[in-house]
Symmetry: C2
Subunit: 238 residues, 2 copies
DNA sequence: TACCCCTAAACATCCGAGGTCTCTGCAGGG
DNA sequence: CCCTGCAGAGACCTCGGATGTTTAGGGGTA
């Protein structure tokens, strides 16, 4: 195994073992390199890799620190990974979202604070009468993010965040092409809100299922009969 | 933004744009460095980072290649990330697994091929009469992985894989300390198998829920009343 | 045809020098 | 006493080149 990979494992081990706690500062490059038995160049490669997945945070002129290691931060890195899957596996990602989103919505109906419910209502009111599709989708993302936060599970929240990004483009394309999609989204958002505000988890779950399934069904019907022209909608939405 | 980060973005862009397809070979280090306008050292940091998340694959003496970019490969990288969350957020990860596992099991009951169902049965039979806890958990991982594969959704499968790892230790600790846990696991596995083989998705979903909830409840009851001594079970399981 | 060896190509690792940024302590002014 | 501006030190950033290691593939031999 290359020394750089060994260094990655060792740094990981230092963190997992507790030798380095979140927020701690690492020894300076030269010192750590000597301690791990490799050159600064190789060490920098290891540090850079751990930076990409948000485990380390280097600040020029200051030092290298362990991040907070909170789930949202680490799973955010997954967004970067998900970005590489554009056209072909969108349906698979959406299918997972269809599983998680209703569950999160039901949890939100149970655990969301009244203040957060009020903010959810505010999000619904923010939208103009005849919003642009882009504004609608942006509002849609904020709406669902708020609900995901309301589930009280940061892991679930971050996961949904990562999964929602890639499908956003699909939703834009849908709004642009499918008649009534915009209005239907608003109605469903309102229904989800009502269910959460009324503390009815099962109703909230059902509305969320309907909501996500709408996008999924449209996307499936668009992709499947297109035959060899699968790439069109994804390309158009990019 | 550091040149290395720019390089990461540029390479990512080359892949997402299609300029570099899965399996393609990158230009040699020196050439690519010149093309991106940076030194080889900095380029290597970028390549190393993309290697960690399985986007690139460097083979010494040969060259650097784009991986297949399949979901399972890219989400496998998430396991590395999840490893950093050990004690404190295990319950959050388990809660997500509790959402996904039943859904995957239900899907498996619908989509799994007869051949795969037979392999599932084989897994059940592999276990000795009085298995060690370690063997049981290893078999448990394979069993659930087989089911996740059977869902037909590679994204779901990889996600469950990543989530199952961290809780494995907890399951071991449970098996070692909780009377009857081993036998109960075997019974539940058998029940899940029967439901899948009988093509009863809702029954399969329910058994999966029961199965995961068992671990979750035990873990919750162990962590909560422990007070300031939360770390004990996780530490003991490592 | 099958096997072995050798060479070229590409990555792995290291080193040292010069640049840039940030934090910190100190001095001066309000 | 507090705020502001100014170096100085410390730490990371970037570069370029030299040397070691590994792999793929061509060519020779039995």
């Amino acid at each position: 195994m290359p020394v750089t990979d060994v260094a990655i494992d060792k740094i990981k081990g230092m963190i997992v073992s507790g030798e380095l706690a979140p927020g701690d500062r690492l020894p300076k490059e030269a010192e750590l390199a000597q301690r791990l038995g490799l050159s600064r160049s190789s060490l920098r490669e290891a540090v850079k890799a751990l930076c990409l997945i948000r485990v380390l945070d280097v600040r020029q002129g200051d030092g290298t620190y362990v991040t907070s290691l909170e789930p949202n931060l680490l799973l955010d890195a997954m967004t970067f990974v998900v970005d590489f899957h554009r056209d072909d596996t969108v349906l698979d990602f959406l299918a997972v979202r269809r599983i998680l989103e209703p569950a999160a919505t039901a949890l939100a109906a149970l655990h969301m604070s009244d203040a957060d419910v009020a903010e959810l209502a505010a999000l619904l009111g923010e939208l103009a009468e005849a919003p642009t599709v882009e504004a609608l989708v942006a509002n849609d993302l904020k709406f669902h993010r708020k609900i995901a936060e309301g589930s009280g599970n940061p892991v679930l929240c971050s996961l949904l965040d990562s999964l929602s990004g890639p499908t956003a483009r699909a939703r834009i394309w849908r709004g642009l092409t499918q008649e009534g999609a915009v209005e239907r989204t608003r109605e469903q958002h309102a229904a989800i809100y009502e269910a959460i505000a009324g503390r009815e988890p099962e109703l909230a779950r059902s509305w969320a299922t309907v909501h996500v399934a709408g996008v999924e069904q449209w996307l499936r019907s668009t992709l499947t009969p297109a035959g060899s022209d699968d790439a069109e909608p994804a390309a158009a939405a990019s």
